[in-house]
Symmetry: C2
Subunit: 355 residues, 2 copies
């Protein structure tokens, strides 16, 4: 059995008894039933995962996976590939958007190189998990080999295993950095949803109409020449995916196997989560959608995963920013569950307040 | 000049130069332009209000205004009016939903009695601003007199003035408690929007189809028999409003006059904000929408105010819960503005990191 297969076997269903106890407590709280909307279900799901109604998410980590993309040769992005490695350094210097929003969420940022076309110094404090120096151009052939696809997922799992070895992880946020990576992500949802690429394709960092046409064409050619098999998620990842997308899939599988809830960010993180849940449907129990991205394909991914996004702030940045911002809502959901008094508790408090 | 008129005169436009400087800084940050969506504009607006790019919202307060409603006699709510005063005590015992979410947001909760049909002990630590012991039944005549309407708004202004006297207030959230108060709130938006009541009316705390029909009928009869004048917001408040809704309007006007940004909560808070902005259009510059409520009328209020809600979590609770939860997003917006490095700052950091 491979490491990937072993990890998938280790994913167990959250505790449904505790989940139901949580639902019951929420129903008995001194407020109209269901009045705290989506956060009620979030709280109950977290209770099921942690097997307690008193969940405390004190150790939060965002893992931002980076990789480069051969398809950039088709002119699908506004920025050159060099920006991927520059942004990795920016993350390490803590001046990027994800650093700011993670600090705000009281989360630690970890950066992982899954396939950046740049050699980072060995002592740079990142996860060195490079599978290749950027993928090949998916519009003319497979982005990577099947072995590389599996390796990228397993590298993601390794990151989780190393994090867990070094201390508690209560909540994982996934993020991405990779110039051109909305192209493979869109190709992935096109493959799974069978919807036309033109309906799924967004403007990424802000390409114009001409760039959008190039991007649609690159994805369409990639799907035609590669014929990825939607029933074989590793085939999809290999042919039209990316190294960091494989890593992001591995993070979800590894987290689920370690009973850690995962908030996915936008289009790219969710593409990884989609690959993960196609490979290991039980991983879906650990998955939460941080936000809904401006990127149109993201909506179809969330539908495919049947996930309700926590935020819709018109973000289209990646890095894990939407996941970071949603972490506070996860905290709020845990507080709602345990701290809001039930009608019975209010009555007891009233009785005790009597002279 | 009345106290209300004087306060309205004291509302000044936020600093547009600082607002533009903020916009410029956001554009130069090392990320795709506009990629942090709605929070970019929130950050810039706060910069304009506080006249600095480095806004720190360290003193946050939620004021929850309570009042009772004669229209409850029409069977428009699932709960009896007594629950309003019981919930006020629950707020003071800190076991209610708003206490939990305010604690999570690091905000203080203040409760104000604008018109509860119960005599609270004089030493109860709330704002004692009662205008009357509940409104009259708006379906058969005016909910209150014009003088009472003005008084309820002025009482809201007084709350702000007292809060400001006792310490800094950087961010105000508004909330409500009042059994039956989705009925006057819906009547208010019906009056301003001229849309049919059946299109605007929601289920409040969870009434069934029969309750919904009674509620629609009560509002329609109220609008017919009272003929509130949409060009006269005080007339609207007096005829189909509520004491806490007047107080909520006063909070917005008072906050704006003191350069304090305000996050409004759901249907009832926004009804108050709508009255405030009809009376004092400049107050809109200080107003932010915390969330979009399940109550269908709320959407039309936000459209009328041209406000984009920060959250859409299917809340329908009130108390200020949606405002409390949105406070963290306001904090995030201030951090985004000042902490994310510009391309120039990243280049300087890189140059300094050279050996």
């Amino acid at each position: 059995m491979t490491m990937l297969e072993k990890t998938i076997r280790n994913i167990h269903r959250p505790n449904t008894t505790v989940y139901e106890q949580a639902k019951e407590r929420l129903r008995r709280q001194a407020r109209p039933a269901g009045s705290l909307g989506i956060l009620e279900d979030v709280g109950a799901r977290l209770a099921g995962i942690f097997e307690t109604l008193d969940v405390r998410l004190t150790h939060k980590i965002i893992v931002t996976c980076a990789g480069d993309h051969g398809v950039c040769a088709e002119g699908v992005s506004l920025f050159p590939s060099e920006v991927t490695s520059q942004m990795v350094y920016n993350f390490i210097h803590a001046g990027a958007s994800i650093n700011v929003l993670a600090r705000h969420a009281n989360a630690r940022v970890e950066v992982a190189d899954l396939g950046v076309a740049h050699d980072f110094p060995a002592d740079l404090p990142i996860f060195h998990k490079k599978v290749g120096r950027g993928t090949k151009n998916l519009s003319t052939g497979p982005a990577m080999t099947r072995e590389e696809a599996v390796k990228s997922i397993e590298n993601g799992i390794e990151i989780i295993d190393e994090l867990v070895k070094n201390g508690p992880v209560h909540l994982l946020g996934t993020g991405d950095m990779g110039i051109g990576n909305t192209t493979p992500s869109t190709a992935i949802i096109a493959c799974f949803s069978h919807l036309p690429v033109s309906q799924l394709c967004g403007r990424g960092t802000g390409i114009d109409d001409n760039g959008l046409m190039k991007k649609i064409s690159a994805i369409e050619r990639g799907l035609t020449c590669n014929s990825p098999d939607p029933d074989d998620p590793i085939d999809v990842l290999a042919k039209v995916g990316g190294f960091e997308i494989g890593g992001l899939a591995g993070l979800v599988i590894g987290a689920a196997a370690n009973n850690i809830p995962v908030i996915c960010d936008g289009l790219i993180s969710t593409a990884g989560a989609l690959i993960a849940c196609k490979l290991a449907p039980a991983a879906r129990n650990y998955l939460f959608a941080g936000h809904k991205s401006v990127e149109v394909g993201h909506r179809f991914m969330l539908e495919e995963l049947n996930l309700e996004p926590l935020l819709d702030l018109q973000f289209r940045l990646g890095e894990g920013t939407g996941a970071a911002l949603a972490m506070e809502l996860m905290d709020a959901a845990t507080r709602i569950l345990i701290e809001i008094k039930t009608f019975e508790e209010v009555a007891i408090a009233d009785a005790q307040a009597q002279p």
